[in-house]
Amino acid sequence: MLYSPGLYCPAPGEAAGISISDSEARRFKLLRIYCEGSAIATIGMATVVLVGWAFGVEVLTSVLPGLVTMKVNTALGLGFSGISVWLQLPGKSRSRKSLSITRYSAHVLALLVVLIGAGTLAEYLFGVNLGIDQLLFRDPMGSVGTSSPGRPAPMTGIAFIASGLALVLLDRKTKRGSGPAQGLSLWSGLIGLMAITGYVYQASLVSKIFLYTKVALNTAIGLFLVSSAVFFARPRVGLAGDLTGDGAGSVVARRFLPAIVLIPILLGWICLRGEIAGMYGMELGLGLQTTVNIVVFAALVWWNARRLNKEYDQRSQAEVEIRALNAALERRVAERTKSLELLSERLSLATAIARVGVWEWELVGKMSIWDATMFEIYGFPPVVPVPYEKWSAAVLPEDLPAAEANLQRSIAEKNQGSAEFRIGLPDGSVRNISVIQKAILDDQASVTRLIGVNMDITERKRAQEALEQGAKDQLRFKDEFLSHVSHELRSPLTAIKQFTTILLSGLAGELNKEQREYQQIVLKNIRQLQSMIDDLLDVTRAEAGKLSVEPESTSAWDAVTDSLNTLRVSSEGKGVSLVSELPPDLPPVHADQTRLRQILIILLDNALKFTPKGGAVRVRARLQKGDAWFVVLEVSDTGCGMSPEACERVFERLFQVEQPSQASRKGLGLGLFICKELVTRQGGEIWVQSEPQVGSTFSFTLPVFSLNNVIAPLLKDDRWPAESVALVMAEICFGGGGSLDSQQECRHEIRNLVQRCLLPNLDVLLPKMSYGAEGERFFIAAFADEKGASILAKRIRDQFECIPHLRRTNLTLLVTYTMLKPFPLEGGSSQENMVTTMATSLENTIKSQILSEGVS
């Protein structure tokens, strides 16, 4: 059989998920084997009988020759019952579909059984022959104990009705929970038992009620087996359940029931045998039977009482142990509770001291529970729960959105979060609060509440602000101090320089050669001091981020030539040659002209300082192509060089190389720091390569000037398609006269004037470009249509009219504009491409303007 206890599958109608003990499982397994065995035995018996009928072997139809035969219909009924009960035993089939088919066929068979029983009974009751008795095989007339040939006994009919119905109603339950099937099976079982008892006592009366056909022995056994199988087919429910359970009642029932069934039969049979043998009379026999019955049952009761008492003792023992365990558990719980209380007390003490308020917010009711510190922080009377609105009203309105967003974020993301906000207290004061909260999830992983802490950080915030202010003040003080000191140093320096110059120019009488030489030394040192003060101020500005850099299109070639010229005299004095090795086709760089000279002079000055007589200082340049193009400028010397450690630190502020004694005066150690700042501010890099005793090479890069870089920041996404871009030109014409200096001033002033007229983010004043007429013409790229461009031009002219002193220096300003081709954003082309296109277009237009100027 397929059945195994491990794979026990509850049949429909049995409550699923009931846990069963091991002994119960074993019992059920045995019962199942019994039911199955009974069913199969019955089926086998019926088959044998049918075979007997089929082949006319009479002995097969009755147990012993001469006994009543089992009729064909009885055999069919028993066989069907056996099959039906076998089909309905639990754990037969797994799939739902086959289960319902099985059940359906079982019910059909059971109904057939009922039909056979009902038909047979009807024939007896109404004295008719329905023709069903010898449907299959003929029963020879005059069979033993048979009233009508082939007709089963009336008791068998009743039993079939009962057991057939029981099989149909196997899984039905009455309202009180007991199965009607078991009651019905008891009836048929009782009939079987009665017949068996009759055979045992050889009393034909019992097995032959109403003097009709007798119940055959094999029929009686079959009925008994089938009925018991039906009875135990559902061992958990109803009467069977009372027998199969683990309870004391079931145990007692199991012990007594077999004895109650078997012992009286056995004793009755023994006594009857004795009576029949004539050993004693009927009275004595009955007396004996009764006495033995009493003794046997008393012994049984005593044995059972003993077993129960023993079990009771064991149970009491177990109970005592469980009580002890329980007490120990309770003690431990109490201890843990106490330590938790202590912990909680400590925690609340700590939170109170640290002014940390603890809160818990139920999302459903929008109410929160606060601890005492929370109320203290918020200055509320301590009433819980606190409605959400009360909290939100306390938060300063300008901080509320952020504070609420923080909470909502925690809920949405189901995690921890923090924020800071301010609250207004009832007394009007304001506190800074820092909140940290965590979302608490329920079983469905949805947020039901938030717990968190509020910290009063007012003091901390105040201290922090004071500290920041202090640091800021200190920094400003330092800057102001440095800048003040530098200015104050300049005044006496001015006087020293003045009088040295006066002496040198012979205004206080002619100097002799030696005196003149010494005054020259004074003057040289004044210049050094002056440049140190300038450096100091530059550093102060660099630190304040105010180092002014105005990048424009600058010729590196010019800057290098100028710087070399400036230092030519001192290099010749030192006997060091200054060499420029620049390629002629160097593109203009995007840099501040003055700052570029400053960088070059610092580097060249350093190089001269460390190069011995007869050495050489070289300036080289090359183009570095990449994503962006750079010009690399190099200043190399044949001086004493530096160690690798010094190379690393050389751009640090106040860093100075340890100098051999013969070296000239040290500087402040600020020059290279300023260089680095300036180069970085202009978008370049600076580095050094050096070898001791061979020389050093300082290199720095500056971006190649490109219009792209100038106009790129203007071009935000929403500007495209840039349908109308105008090039506005403001041209200064000097009407003769005026020094070069004043012309320079005018240029500067007009540049500022033009700058003032521009609309931010729409117009850009292009830097001076080498192919522009040296700043006498200003070019403006404007995101404007024709009308916008004309308005801009008019604005510049009007502004110019407002500055009379410019107008009267024979200066004229000519403002014109020209429209550029539109720049639609074509599919597939990136914005960078568009910028390049626009820059190229601008450049070409500017070049053509200058060219046309030249021709005319």
Binding site: T494, Q498, T501, L507, I526, D741, N752, P804
Partner: protein, 136 residues
Amino acid sequence: MTNNLSNKKILIIEDDADVRLGYNVLLKANHYDTFFAADAMGAITEARKCLPDVIVLDLGLPAGDGFVVLERLRANMQLQMVPVIVVSGRDLPVNKERVLLLGAKAFIQKPWNDSELLALIGKLAGQPDLSVAQPK
């Protein structure tokens, strides 16, 4: 250096006596008549008295700084046309723009080169500026 027939008058407004003496030697040697003021108060008084051709103004002055002097000069009918050269030890970028806006003709950083200063004074004294820059 310069060969003016009639001496031009230069007013020096400078609080440092040594620097004033330096100016005196240099300008006298270049045939200028020199006048001096040591503070902002005295500056206007002295200017009205001498009606100079060029004013050299130091920014750092006691009793009101150079900016105040510039504003007062611009507000004075007699003096508003006089070209002013501002000389200062203060930072160049910030202050230069401001003084030029207030109508000064030039800004020179201390310590200066004598030749530069003389060239500038010569230019401004020789070519009296006809423009009238009104403060807005």
